[in-house]
Symmetry: C2
Subunit: 429 residues, 2 copies
């Protein structure tokens, strides 16, 4: 029996020591939370708290399912965004082909929680990382792909795989000058193919992978994708792929429409399975991905006909802590709680809870309220003199960059339309 299959991990208990939930006398299972009748607006969560909106999550799952189906491509959402196995499960139930991950550790987390097909969109490097994957591959039901982009790396991987007795599935990473990993030239491709030839008993070449997100210009991205298509065709012509259909994978969260269009419209003369990897669609944001979505809704014919686009499914809620100057409030929300690398959090909702004179429902935060600075545990909020804002008020913030927000929370509260806490979503970073 694979020791990693132990029941203890399905599901883990939520500890009393997790931030963003509240006072618990003892650890509870996530599915016990609904019975507690916690409600966000009744202050049953200790803020700051990360809150996921059930309705928007399901809308986004369905939106992306339809989009991928329209192009006839597979979805392997990038799980590094959330590292929340409960959300992986929702994605798989919504038709995802598998889960994309970035590291051996992340792969292990997914496996332990039931994911059985992983595209690790990275090179597998280092003794323990290889050992982690080798342990998972003892389960014949586990399907795993990782990337190769150098003869040196293939030699290390082949040597380890030979010893462990697993044949490892790999994709050739095709990169771009100025970009991240991946081969730049046809000479490099040939070196890889030569190296793979030496290790064919231990490594199976199954396809080609790109990450176009290192570029930010559509024309350059299209050229790069067509180059990857050409490389795929050349290797296919040499009959060097060990899988049919050949896997061809690309797409981060900003350009998946272009990748879907380019990859699905090529004629490969052999079966090709296109696998796209956006991750941030699940919660969306108000930063780079809203900009990307606006472009997609304007320019992509499939998205244009799908009606409402992706919805914001993640807020950070926090208390106003001080109003020390007429134009400034201090909010208990900091760089420990929300991403700040792609834009500061944006005030979305304002609510005065029942313990002080009551408002019935959150109102939209005034447009002139702006976060001007984020410290480790505090936000500076610019307000206008005489704005109605007090210590103890609750505020919800939109965030930019879900990946670097999820990793600040071990537990997120899932709420329904009435702000009842219906589930707790754990992360494993």
């Amino acid at each position: 029996m694979n020791p990693l299959k132990r029941e203890a991990h399905h599901p883990g208990a939520i500890d009393v020591l997790n931030k963003g939930i509240g006072l618990l006398e003892q650890p509870i299972a996530p599915n016990e939370i609904a019975r507690r009748n916690w409600n966000l607006l009744r202050e049953d969560l200790a803020l700051p708290a990360a809150v996921l909106y059930e309705d928007a999550l399901h809308h986004n799952l369905e939106w992306m399912r339809q989009f991928m189906a329209a192009y006839g491509v597979r979805l392997a959402p990038h799980g590094k965004t959330t590292m929340a196995p409960r959300l992986f499960d929702l994605q798989l139930r919504a038709g995802a082909w598998g889960i994309t991950l970035a590291t051996a550790h992340q792969t292990q987390v997914a496996y332990v929680h039931g994911v059985r097909r992983v595209l690790m969109a990275n090179q597998l490097i280092g003794k323990q990382n290889m050992a982690i994957v080798a342990a998972l591959l003892r389960d014949p039901e586990f399907e795993f792909y990782c990337l190769v982009d150098s003869a040196e790396q293939i030699s290390q991987l082949g040597s380890y795989s030979s010893q462990s007795g697993n044949r490892l599935n790999v994709l050739l990473e095709v990169g771009v000058e100025g970009g991240r990993a991946g081969v730049r030239t046809r000479e490099q491709v040939q070196l890889i193919l030569d190296a793979l030839g030496k290790w064919s008993h231990a490594i199976a070449l199954c396809g080609v992978e790109v990450y176009e997100g290192v570029l930010d210009d559509e024309a350059a991205i299209r050229a790069f994708l067509l180059h990857a298509v050409d490389v795929t065709k050349e290797i296919a012509a040499k009959k060097l792929f060990q899988r049919s259909p050949i896997l061809l994978s690309g797409a981060g969260s900003a350009w998946y429409d272009v990748v879907a269009e380019v990859f699905s419209s090529r004629n490969f003369e052999c079966p090709v399975e296109v696998v796209l990897r956006p991750g941030c669609y699940l919660t969306h944001d108000v930063g780079a991905y809203r900009v990307a979505q606006d472009r997609i809704l304007k320019s992509n014919p499939v998205a244009r006909h799908m009606g409402a686009g992706l919805k914001t499914a993640l807020h950070i809620w926090a208390y106003v802590q001080s109003v020390p100057e007429p134009n400034k409030a201090i909010v208990g929300l900091g760089r420990r709680d929300a991403a700040f690398d792609s834009g500061l959090p944006v005030p979305a909702l304002h609510f005065r809870p029942r313990s002080i004179p009551c408002r019935a429902a959150p109102e939209a935060a005034p447009a002139h309220w702006t976060v001007t600075r984020l410290m480790d545990q505090h936000a500076y909020l610019q307000i206008a003199a005489n704005d109605d804002i007090r210590p103890g008020d609750m505020m919800a913030f939109d965030i930019a960059h879900p990946c670097l927000t999820f990793d600040k929370w071990r537990v997120l509260a899932l709420v329904n339309g009435a702000y009842d806490v219906v589930d707790l979503i754990q992360t494993f970073f």
Copy 2:
């Protein structure tokens, strides 16, 4: 019995799902790790991993103990930096008066792990946050202070404390125009004193608190500290403090020398206990705190006579993953692993492990190796053509800003001088 005192939390088991440790068949207690004979250079950790150096940690603990003793002031190191109760314990054993924390959640984590004196350098806001603290205060051995800076907040706090039957210790936060929370004017001070008068059965004013780190000019900081001294004297003259000695607290990790000098040299005409709150001294960094330490070693007479200053006690280790261009390597270390808000990670050490032709010990990374970009899971490393660097090489990186590095790791490995893993340090963010 206080339900939060349960044995289960002393210490928690390290889960197989934590990144940065390696393949574990089942959860283990942190103190069982030494018996495994793991060694970092033998690749017994799955990189990326956060590594603490035992010798440097103990040096820094002793350095700060001596510094504080020379000024006759108390140390309540800011625990938000590490949120690692094992490190809180080391700090308390090295003479710390208590632990400073930023939130009710952090206070709960510290309490559950044995900390019995907490200065929460923040306003306590919100029903559940008050409930968490009220539960801890059922233990008469638990000493707790938090901040007040508005009548509205005092009214909420007083109302809750009256109901829960605890008398809450508070410090008046004195702030500065353009800064964070805290009263700016003497009129605001008077409003606070009036509000405290109404709630004297529920709230005890024990002292004054400042955070000078919102300023970055020494002259302005000195003026601000002297203002806080004056406010303290004025309230003392009115005999409105409920504690003797009066608590006077300040100091982040950059200006603790100036705060120690200013606060310890004043004549208060009544007993005053000065409590300073630096947190980053424990691991130090190569960013803002190295700059601060250089200034301190030059300008502070006590530090000048103490010999070696603070030492770097924290590295992130990662694998070189690809060398796709002659001048670029890609390293498996990203914004998920290291702080980037105060400077990118800096290459410190380079090592080629035994699985490939061996080097005996890590060498200093060449000075021209530079991190030029950090993505979620990757670093772009600028190198020179023909540098001896390969996929599978290990590198250690210095970091800037320990606070935003610790919070990316649930477990850090403590190593001795031979890179043996002697302990695992858990965090609770």
